[in-house]
């Protein structure tokens, strides 16, 4: 029998998680500002020696395959792109969370990081569709962080997966969110939201974490972004990259079509790009000796 997690307990779990580094936080803030440029990103990274070293190591890794070594941070950032730099900064700070083996979901080591990276790429691809006004870099970052709550509650869900699956099959639970809520009193989007508040993440990202399964409830001005992450998450799961037993046991909100126009052929193209980009990115992260593998 599982026990409900009290509000105090979830706050205790959040306190045990390392804070984001100041540079990761500043990078996230910069990404959400529509007026920022690459110079702002360079300025933030420059002041963080560890991050600078990581960025240079990744850009010069075998996976990137450059002929000439890049030694200037400006060139490295412009080559890798802002979203990857943010990904490196956030991934390094939150490695403990991304890296966690999600036992409560019967996920394997590395599943969460792979799922998050795929969701990030898919959300960015959705954001680049012609009719949208979403910043693709922001969609990438929001996608990367959307499931962070699973790390917080996974341990409390241990041993429940097979029962949850049969209850979903018998329609006792509507989906995996209902199961989380019923079993431990909090679902993973809300746990993630609590962490986002503690980390003081920008509102757009906080909103995407909180409503990625229920995008219709997101704030109107951020709904397009949240729907992009919602679709990105579903695309990652369809690609066989979930976080364990819960994969694909969530509902797709068909009202996305009010915000995002997506034909089946475009979806197929997005899925193909996600596969290609994912393989590239995963190689560059692992080539740089990332702990998130």
């Amino acid at each position: 029998m599982t026990e409900k997690i009290s509000h105090e307990e979830i706050q205790k779990v959040i306190k045990s998680v390392p804070l984001l580094s100041p540079s990761a936080n500043q990078l996230l803030q910069a990404t959400t500002d529509p007026d920022h440029d690459q110079g702002d990103i360079v300025q933030i990274v420059k002041l963080d020696a560890t991050l600078t070293a990581r960025v240079l190591k990744i850009v010069n890794s075998a996976a990137i395959g450059l002929i000439n070594e890049i030694t200037s941070l400006e060139r490295a950032i412009s080559y890798l792109g802002e979203r990857l730099v943010v990904g490196i900064a956030v991934g390094d700070c939150a490695a403990q969370l991304f890296d966690k083996e999600l036992k409560g979901y019967e996920g394997e080591h590395g599943d969460l990081w792979r799922h998050d990276l795929r969701t990030a790429i898919a959300s960015r691809e959705i954001a680049t569709l012609s009719n949208l006004k979403i910043n693709p870099d922001l969609a990438f970052t929001a996608g990367l962080l959307h499931d962070i709550g699973k790390s917080l509650i996974s341990d409390y869900l241990q041993g429940t997966a097979s029962e949850v699956l049969s209850k979903i099959e018998n329609e006792e639970y509507g989906d995996y969110l209902t199961a989380e809520e019923e079993l431990i009193g909090i679902d993973h989007p809300r746990a993630g939201y609590e962490l986002a508040l503690a980390w003081k993440l920008p509102e757009a990202i906080t909103e995407a974490i909180r409503f990625h399964h229920t995008p219709a409830e997101a704030r109107e001005d951020l709904r397009e972004l949240v729907y992009a992450v919602h679709l990105g998450d579903n695309i990652a799961m369809l690609g066989g990259c979930g976080t364990g037993a819960d994969s694909m046991h969530y509902k797709l909100d068909p009202n996305y079509s009010q915000y995002i126009e997506l034909k089946s052929e475009e979806l197929a193209r997005v899925m193909l790009t996600v596969d290609v980009e994912f393989n590239k990115l995963e190689r560059s992260f692992s080539a740089a000796g990332d702990s998130n593998q």
Binding site: A161, N234, G244, M248, H249, L272
Partner: protein
Amino acid sequence: MGQIILGVGDYGASNRPGEEVKTFALGSCVSVILLDPKTRTVGMVHVALPESTINKAKSLEKPGYFVDTGIPALLVEMAKFGCNPKGKGMVVKLCGGANVMDTNDTFQIGKRNGLAVKKILWKYGMGAVAEDLGGNFSRTVTVSVDTGEIILSSPGRSNWKL
């Protein structure tokens, strides 16, 4: 025991005793398994999308990625093992093709993959004798070359046979 592991868009075959052909985590992807009793060869392709028309270059680089190029590529591969190049006498089994819950038409990629596979097989005069398609869970598939037995697994579920 040897294993041939196939990623997304890969295909392969084996007739080596004791070997297994395996693919991980099929979501909406479909695994087409061809068993040739005559040569005791097991072949598998892990297809991701129905039609190669969306990206010709990709289909040349990785024909196994698409249903319409993946199944012909697998047959060519199996012919190297002495199997009939048109698939005559082969036993066909299918798995994968999952969907998310409450999905709409656009997102029924799993279903479209399954249908596309059946359409191509039909052109070869082949039909599946067993299938485990659809649902909303991912599948890892292992085929034994010795027995042709197919074991499926998915997180939170007990293994099952096809």
